[in-house]
């Protein structure tokens, strides 16, 4: 998909620059863009490594365990197709916890394991059951305690307070998450009352 988007962006900018007569600006932007990209990644490196380093200390200190234990009862209620002590729920908890703590690289393998385990007892076989839909929707709207990439970008752009957006991010992502959960629950109720399943 990204292939189409990227090509589309390039083509649109060429066409647009012809219409607006900004061909010269465009050719400069190509070189500037490449330059900007390199310096951006370098300036992001410090702050991102700082946070992943701190989070790893927190993880080894038992924070992950603690968070997973707090989340477990909530997640079990949201995904009632799976038992509290099942392998699937363990992977689900580990995935959501890692997402919450911003350990993105750690989250994906747990997420894939969760999907695999959930699929094993999925009676619909080629369609996801409601717990699987819930799990993926939770992942697409996932709350991140500290959005490190955004903070790094703000810092690189010269913000005087890169972290001032945190409370807004929490409120916003929590509302989006709740909206997602409610929609899935409504859908599930509707579906079972209509006996489409």
């Amino acid at each position: 998909m990204l292939n189409y988007i990227w090509s589309g962006m390039i083509i649109i900018s060429f066409l647009c620059s012809i219409v607006t007569g900004r061909a010269e600006e465009l050719s400069r932007a190509i070189l500037d863009g490449a330059d900007k990209a390199v310096s951006l990644v370098i300036s992001m490196a410090g702050i991102m490594c700082l946070w992943t380093g701190i989070m790893r200390i927190a993880e080894r200190g038992g924070l992950t365990h603690l968070v997973a234990r707090i989340l477990s009862p909530i997640l079990c209620r949201l995904m009632p197709d799976y038992d509290k002590d099942s392998k699937a729920m363990a992977a689900v908890c580990a995935n959501i916890t890692a997402n919450l703590l911003g350990l993105g690289n750690a989250a994906t393998p747990f997420g894939l394991a969760a999907m695999r385990e959930m699929q094993k007892s999925n009676l619909l076989v080629n369609k996801p059951n409601s717990s699987m839909v819930m799990f993926v929707v939770l992942n697409t709207a996932s709350i991140q305690l500290i959005p490190t990439t955004v903070a790094a970008l703000r810092q690189a752009a010269g913000s005087s307070s890169p972290y001032s957006i945190l409370p807004y991010v929490w409120i916003t992502s929590l509302s989006a998450l709740l909206a997602g959960i409610i929609l899935v629950l409504l859908f599930v109720r509707n579906r079972s009352s209509n006996r489409i399943l």
């Binding site: 990204l2 988007i5 990227w6 649109i12 900018s13 647009c16 620059s17 607006t20 900004r22 465009l26 932007a29 190509i30 490449a34 900007k36 951006l40 990644v41 992001m44 991102m48 490594c49 946070w51 380093g53 701190i54 790893r56 200390i57 200190g61 690289n105 750690a106 994906t108 997420g111 894939l112 999907m115 695999r116 699929q119 080629n126 369609k127 839909v133 799990f135 993926v136 929707v137 992942n139 697409t140 709207a141 991140q144 955004v150 903070a151 970008l153 752009a157 010269g158 913000s159 005087s160 307070s161 957006i165 807004y168 991010v169 916003t172 989006a176 909206a179 997602g180 929609l183 859908f187």
Partner: protein, 147 residues
């Protein structure tokens, strides 16, 4: 617990994340700055201004909102261009930051997770996830503007 070892292990993880997104970030930053220079964003912004003005929504962040569910690197590239153009601490910059930080790349997560177990019919997943994404767009605007 070895604090230093844990820290460096984690920092290595951060570098890995960064190197894994760097190539697509390069490509997309170039594409975004080309779009920017070509005047496309100005046209798009002008086009949406009448609609956005009714509720006071800044049209400048709309392209980011459309990009966010589709590509993570693309939306970070776009956020970077917005932050540099309007300032990281401006209202527009803050709304854009909250927007980019509040949701995940919906289509990526759905494709990877369901793709990994060979499920193609994802049912209600995408409509629900996109509805949640729109809520986060609206809330990013409301929280920054009114809180």
């Amino acid at each position: 617990m070895d604090l230093f070892d844990s820290f460096t292990d984690g920092a290595k993880e951060g570098l890995k994340t960064l190197t894994s997104i760097a190539p697509s970030l390069f490509g997309l930053i170039i594409a975004v700055s080309m779009l920017e220079a070509s005047g496309f964003f100005d046209i798009l912004t002008k086009l949406f201004t009448p609609v956005c003005e009714i509720v006071g929504f800044p049209p400048e962040v709309l392209p980011l909102g459309l990009m966010r569910p589709v590509t993570g690197s693309g939306s970070f590239a776009m956020l970077d261009s917005i932050l540099r153009k309007y300032g990281a601490d401006s209202i527009i910059g803050k709304i854009a930051s909250v927007m980019a930080g509040s949701t995940e790349t919906t289509f990526y997560a759905v494709t990877v997770y369901f793709g990994s177990i060979g499920i193609k019919k994802t049912g209600f997943t995408i409509p629900a996830a996109l509805a949640a994404d729109s809520i986060s767009m609206i809330m990013a605007f409301l929280t920054i503007k009114y809180l």
